[in-house]
């Protein structure tokens, strides 16, 4: 799974710490989500999408396996 978190975070000039604070998780969780190494819960995906003013479908790019 790929994400557009880094791209959107840069657009809104947010650091990983800022985004982590907004959604109430640790910075490492944002880092692993950006790298595609962590699949967040639906709640967290929703919170991150909301913080970045987008939708879950726009934020996460699912690839067929």
């Amino acid at each position: 799974m790929k994400t557009r978190i880094k791209e959107l975070r840069a657009r809104y000039n947010l650091t990983q710490d800022d985004l982590a604070r907004k959604v109430g998780v640790r910075r490492e969780t944002i880092l692993f989500m950006e790298k595609g190494k962590y699949n967040p819960s639906l709640q967290l995906a929703h919170d991150v999408a909301k913080a970045l003013k987008t939708t879950i479908e726009e934020l996460f790019i699912f690839e067929d396996s």
Partner: protein, 134 residues
């Protein structure tokens, strides 16, 4: 508040373990290699626990949560690996001692091996998963 209390309790337990080890070393006199190994593993466990506590304090100071959903998942996974290690060491250690050394292992040794194996597996898998991602 709950996180801070957890950290304080953790620091208290780590200090208690270090003091207990210090008393043991002082009273034991000359230590055998086996005892040094066990003390070494216990110190590694305390050092790892210290790292967890420092990591949590660092996040609280930044205004971030000490634990989030990813870390809870990491915790669950590491716990399950530690549990498996406990079961296998409880079965395997006395069996291996009997087969390879023809030695009937006392119950307190088995308990020590189970605790150390479980603790070490938990710490290693927790650190690995926290570093590598889930």
């Amino acid at each position: 508040m709950k996180d801070k209390l957890g950290i304080l309790v953790g620091i208290g337990i780590a200090a208690f373990v270090i003091v207990t080890l210090a008393f043991y070393i002082i009273n034991a006199g000359t230590l055998e290699i086996r005892e040094i190994g066990i003390i070494g593993i216990a110190l590694i466990l305390v050092a790892s626990a210290g790292y967890f506590l420092w990591d949590r304090m660092k996040n609280i100071r930044k205004g971030l949560p000490a634990q989030d959903e990813r870390l809870k998942l990491t915790n669950y996974k590491a716990c399950s690996y530690g549990f498996i290690a406990c079961i296998w060491s409880a079965v395997g250690a006395p069996l291996a001692a009997g087969i390879f050394f023809d030695y009937e292992m006392p119950g307190n040794y088995v308990t020590a091996i189970v605790v150390l194996c479980g603790g070490l597996t938990f710490m290693i898998s927790y650190l690995y998963l926290a570093w590598k991602g889930n």
